[in-house]
Symmetry: C2
Subunit: 299 residues, 2 copies
Amino acid sequence: MSEILESVPNYSVGNDEEVIEKIITPFRENEGVNLLDYSADPDHNRLVVTNVGGAEDLFEATLESIGIAIEKIDMNEHSGEHPRMGATDVVPFTPVRGVTMTEAIELAKKLAKEAAERFDLPIYLYEEAATRPERRDLSEIRRGEFEGFPEKIKKQNWKPDFGPERVHPTAGVTAIGARKPLVAFNVNLKTDDLTIAEAVAKKVRHSSGGLRYCKAMGVDLEGKDAVQVSMNMTDYTNTSLQQAFELIRVEAERHGVDILESEIVGLVPSGALIDVAEHYLKLRDFSSDQIIENRLLEE
Amino acid sequence: MSEILESVPNYSVGNDEEVIEKIITPFRENEGVNLLDYSADPDHNRLVVTNVGGAEDLFEATLESIGIAIEKIDMNEHSGEHPRMGATDVVPFTPVRGVTMTEAIELAKKLAKEAAERFDLPIYLYEEAATRPERRDLSEIRRGEFEGFPEKIKKQNWKPDFGPERVHPTAGVTAIGARKPLVAFNVNLKTDDLTIAEAVAKKVRHSSGGLRYCKAMGVDLEGKDAVQVSMNMTDYTNTSLQQAFELIRVEAERHGVDILESEIVGLVPSGALIDVAEHYLKLRDFSSDQIIENRLLEE
């Protein structure tokens, strides 16, 4: 398997084991798809499934699971802490190996078109697959949520990219897109002063003047003598982990505070960490072809 | 393919394209073996072949190639700069994935036994597969080379581990062993003073009081305004690249010299670089299972 994408579809179910099992079955049973992880959060009332596989197999399995979600989930009865707008809320595709972003976008569009037609479901394309700038940001699309969408969808600039111009009565609307791999990277500071984590987060995140592909916020770590700068690195190929780390170090120093430790939550492409090693060792002319495991994957 | 070893057999041929092609053919044609690289150095008159694959397939392909080398190479007509003692000079096996060192040692012993019987060839086990301490070091075994071995092999403590107690008339003797992955790691210093590289190398290498799994020497970089601390990291799981790098930094500073850059020559296991990233980012509770590519290899 040389061409690999990751997909992390989110469904609006978090409590019903039977429905969860049915939704993940197409991924589990498809031989070209590797179901890496799934987690259902009862508070969020949300199921997050992580798969890797080839484009065609991910297309087939995801299409089938969207059909099952439509059949089993009624959004009129759904509530939870996490914002949501559809039974299948969002489906992002990410290139992992031997696949370009253009191919990931094509896959997103193909799935959006087929799912819209087959299930009579309005679908928005987002991030790299977005058809207009204001649809790049998923939270902009989702604003108003399931309850607000019957009004929102009537507006000229919120006409869906595929499917009918009205909300599916029980399944709402779905966003399908393509994005770069996201790395959840947290850095803990040796202080219990949350305002310091917040001040440092403000300096490091893009929205307030920091690094282009970094989202950050300060978080209190209950019961631990530390506070956290919690980050989403949205494009590690352009904003590296070590850039964020070093900037946090310098900003925290200004408050007389050192870095305690860091953590990566969930999955990370090896390239994000190899890049860190290249930086600190000042490696010259290093190629990812030199990594034995990458040669194994080329098979 | 979940259980993978690397093997890097060395043959005493560097000029004869036809013989080289014949020797690598068993690796090229075995479907369970991935021939990653081969390079023949005319000055060294030596062929180095890098393969990865499962134990059984590497066993079969290597056995066949040893037979071809015996048939095609006459050590009585061989000369070259690199020390050597046999047509197939040395065969190291290294665990890469899902394989323990014990299994790599078993593979080395199985191949040694079979090749000795089939080709009437004296074979020494070395490094992790060695049967006595003085045979761990390949250079100790090879001392005296092809020309000196008829005398050496008669000595009680140089009785081969397998095969006859006399040199093969045309193929000499062969060493087969198991070892940890070796990383060729060089650090260049911003000076043209070779004595500084030599002084730093002395501090960092095991033999003169430095790091346990580090061999190092100072090297002049012709035409470049820098000198090199050239290292073989023989067990990066116990002596890390960043330990060597930081020790070099501190030792070079004492001479008023900074590090210019570093390089990794040839292949490196991803773990050696992930370890560097974990160190500098102070990563807590990181598991290699979090690396997407590792999950792909589990398939």
